[in-house]
């Protein structure tokens, strides 16, 4: 049928196509509809990005026009700064925790509650609740939970006859506490992605597997999970990009402390760039973050894209 159509309509040149476009109004539509998006994108994404790259070459406190050009010095200082190393490592830890703990947890729960029953709806709602909370509010709530004097954690420890632990003031435990909160906050989001995908898995495939004698674990492992691979890839992408952007949970919980041990790249660029009015230095950190995000996103799309074709 399609081949018939192709032969019936004679091939046209580019000029013809433009002419047709003009007549049908496609061209006008393009002229009217493209500029708003293009202008907004350039104004709020491309331009600030170019500005950040420009400012990162200056030692500049935000007053007047930048004039003290220092070349790559800001990048040099950034790479030498021990707190930046900590921030990078913390961000890497967040990515690992998201991929290795949060996503399996979300997947496991999704497999338990994806069927449409009233109890499952209730569980889904409960698991999804943390995601609905505003980040800052969640951070504040957890800072109370971890409080060594009045918090739930310390009450539990007291009940067991233990001394209070000031989790968020402790170098060793502050960041694990933050990672716990982040897993708690976002697993519901990934779970929802998996639930949507699982509901799209054809029932007959699952039933066929059961008839063949597959146990529930085997059904999940060999039928359902391979069939929702595309959703897992997408949720992994969100997990990585989300981890790179973590900011508003950390600020109310520890504000990067104690002794700058719980910074991520974003809180680092905020406290060492913006709050200290080192705009040039902060811009350098922002450019590094951008390159990292783009690099990882590109790499991830390439590798997972190849995987799904194979």
């Amino acid at each position: 049928m399609t081949t018939l159509d192709r032969t019936a309509v004679p091939r046209r040149g580019n000029a013809d196509r433009v002419k047709k476009g003009l007549v049908s109004g496609k061209f006008t539509a393009l002229l009217i509809l493209l500029p708003p998006a293009l202008i907004l994108f350039s104004l709020f994404v491309i331009l600030p990005l170019a500005d950040a790259v420009y400012y990162s070459g200056f030692s500049w406190n935000g007053y007047g026009a930048p004039s003290d050009f220092v070349g790559a010095q800001n990048y040099q200082r950034l790479l030498d700064h021990s707190v930046f190393h900590t921030a990078l490592w913390n961000t890497a830890k967040l990515i690992l925790v998201s991929l290795l703990i949060q996503m399996p947890l979300a997947l496991g729960l999704a497999l338990l509650v994806y069927r449409k029953t009233p109890t499952n709806t209730l569980f889904r709602l409960v698991f999804f609740l943390p995601y609905i909370l505003a980040e800052v509010a969640a951070g504040l709530i957890w800072s109370f939970v971890f409080d060594g004097d009045y918090g739930i954690t310390s009450s539990l420890l007291h009940a067991m006859g233990q001394e209070s632990v000031y989790v968020l003031a402790d170098h060793q435990w502050a960041f694990p506490a933050i990672m716990t909160v982040i897993v708690w906050k976002y697993f519901g989001f990934h779970m929802m992605i998996y639930i949507a995908a699982l509901q799209g898995v054809p029932k007959d495939l699952v039933e066929a597997a059961k008839l063949e004698g597959a146990k529930p674990r085997q059904v999940a492992l060999f039928v359902q999970i391979p069939l929702i691979k595309h959703a897992i890839v997408v949720s992994g992408f969100f997990a990585i990009i989300g981890s790179l952007q973590i900011f508003d949970i950390i600020i109310p919980m520890t504000n990067g402390g104690p002794s700058n041990s719980t910074h991520t790249i974003v809180t680092y660029l905020y406290s060492f760039g913006l709050s200290r009015l080192n705009i040039g230095f902060g811009s350098a950190a922002a450019v590094v973050l951008f390159v990292l995000a783009i690099g990882i996103a590109f790499f991830y799309q390439r590798t997972t894209g190849k995987g799904s074709k194979a």
Binding site: I32, S59, N61, G62, Y63, G64, R77, F146, D147, G148, D149, S164, Y166, V167, L168, A169, H171, T254, N255, G257, P258, S259, N260, S271, F272, L274, S275, R276, L277, N278
Partner: protein, 429 residues
């Protein structure tokens, strides 16, 4: 209209545009028709202080019917980060709150600040002590006028210190202070509360010690890179002294997770014997306590920070000097209003309401509480008032000082490393 015309977007667009243009024009004409408006930008303050400004503004506007004064308030952190942008925009305030020091220097260097030398030297500055004007003087030019001064000292709860046999009035030296801490610990009383999470309350220890050891001149010399800069002897020594205090386990448990507000309330609740804090904490500590009453005045003392052996700054004070600066293009009325706001009469009124300890000479007599009078005494006796290091040395170096103070208090850096980090931050500021 939007909905009914949604298939006619190109036709309705010019009409929208015209509407917007008309609206903008109308707004513009309203502001242009008004009298001279002087805008004042200040950090969020207590409602009592806001009322005080309202009264001053009302009095001024009654005398100058063609001038309209408007106060605007921004929260502390927001103020610091938004001020640079605001100063460069057309939304620039005419008068803004300042701590002097390097922060003001950045603004002056960028050309945003009006030189007040002429009116100040024309009788205006005579009502303030020299040190107060000095905080806003850069290269012999005056760029601001003082509103009030604050002093860091020790708030003491004598009900607790007496239990441990500590005489607060007899604490004169750092050794006395450390001995008091030991005695309190032995009695099972928490010696000190501190809001370590905020950083700056811990900087009060390091900063006070540096002021005692190096004195204002020593700090000025370090800025110029003399005597080893901020890696010099007094700065390392301050770290060592802070660490020797920390070894006595003086703070409440989990102090790095305690905010200033919380620490202030804990002191009000009688959970610790001392709070090294600014004089302003008198009312806040009462309000933040569980009972709302705080430590009763009979048990409450405010004493100066202890002296150190061989220090250059034992006769000096450490605290804040807060005032106002005028922006470059502000109308002359702004300067006139500022002079009115900060005159001896209004300063005395501020003293009488007890909202702060004003700087104008003679206004301290109007102070109501013994604590405020004590502060005025300390300031009066002081030969030099060192402004908070986290403000005097600029935002970036200041934040580093807050960081290292916290690190020293937790024992995660050596005094030498701490001093080196301050010097590095100063080099890269």
């Amino acid at each position: 209209m939007h909905v009914s015309n949604k298939y006619n977007v190109p036709c309705s667009r010019p009409r929208h545009l015209a509407l917007v243009v008309a609206a903008v024009a109308a707004l513009g004409s309203v502001t242009a028709a008004a009298d001279t408006t002087v805008t004042v930008l200040r950090i969020e303050s207590s409602s009592a202080e806001k009322r005080y400004y309202e009264e001053v503004v009302a009095a001024y506007e009654a005398e100058h019917p063609d001038v309209n004064v408007e106060f605007e308030y921004l929260a502390n952190e927001a103020y610091k980060t938004r001020l640079p942008t605001m100063l460069q925009s057309s939304q620039r305030p005419d008068i803004y709150y300042t701590w002097g020091g390097e922060g003001l220097r950045d603004q002056v260097d960028a050309g945003f600040v009006r030189d007040l030398s002429e009116p100040m030297r024309d009788g205006w500055q005579d009502i303030y002590p020299e040190s107060a004007v000095g905080a806003f003087t850069l290269d012999d030019r005056v760029y601001g006028a003082p509103l009030y001064a604050t002093v860091v000292g020790i708030w003491a709860n004598t009900a607790l210190t007496e239990q441990a046999g500590v005489d607060v009035d007899a604490i004169k030296t750092w050794e006395d202070f450390e001995n008091a801490v030991v005695a309190l610990r032995e009695e099972g009383i928490t010696p000190l509360v501190v809001g370590g999470q905020d950083g700056w309350p811990l900087h009060f220890y390091w900063g006070s010690l540096v002021t005692r050891l190096a004195g204002g001149e020593g700090i000025e010399a370090a800025k110029n890179g003399e005597n080893g800069g901020f890696e010099g002897e007094p700065f390392v020594r301050a770290g060592e002294m802070l660490q020797s205090l920390v070894e006595l386990d003086p703070f409440q448990p989990g102090f790095m997770a305690t905010s200033y507000e919380r620490a202030s309330g804990m002191f009000g609740d009688g959970e610790a014997a001392f709070h090294v804090m600014g004089d302003w904490d008198y009312l806040p500590s009462k309000q933040r306590s569980v009972s709302g009453e705080g430590v009763p005045d009979d048990d409450l003392l405010f004493v100066p920070f202890p002296e150190v052996e061989g220090g250059e700054g034992n006769t000096q004070s450490f605290g804040g000097m807060n005032g106002f600066a005028v922006t470059r293009d502000a109308p002359d009325e702004a300067v006139d209003f500022l002079r009115f706001l900060l005159n001896a009469d209004n300063q005395r009124k501020a003293a009488a309401t007890g909202i702060f300890v004003p700087v104008a000479e003679g206004s301290a007599e109007a102070l109501e509480t013994p604590y405020a009078r004590r502060v005025a005494e300390i300031l009066d006796e002081s030969e030099f008032h060192q402004v908070f290091l986290d403000q005097a040395l600029g935002t970036s170096v200041g934040a580093t000082i807050n960081d290292i103070s916290g690190d020293l208090a937790q024992g995660v850096v050596t005094p030498e490393e701490a001093a080196a980090r301050v010097e590095e931050a100063w080099q890269f500021r």
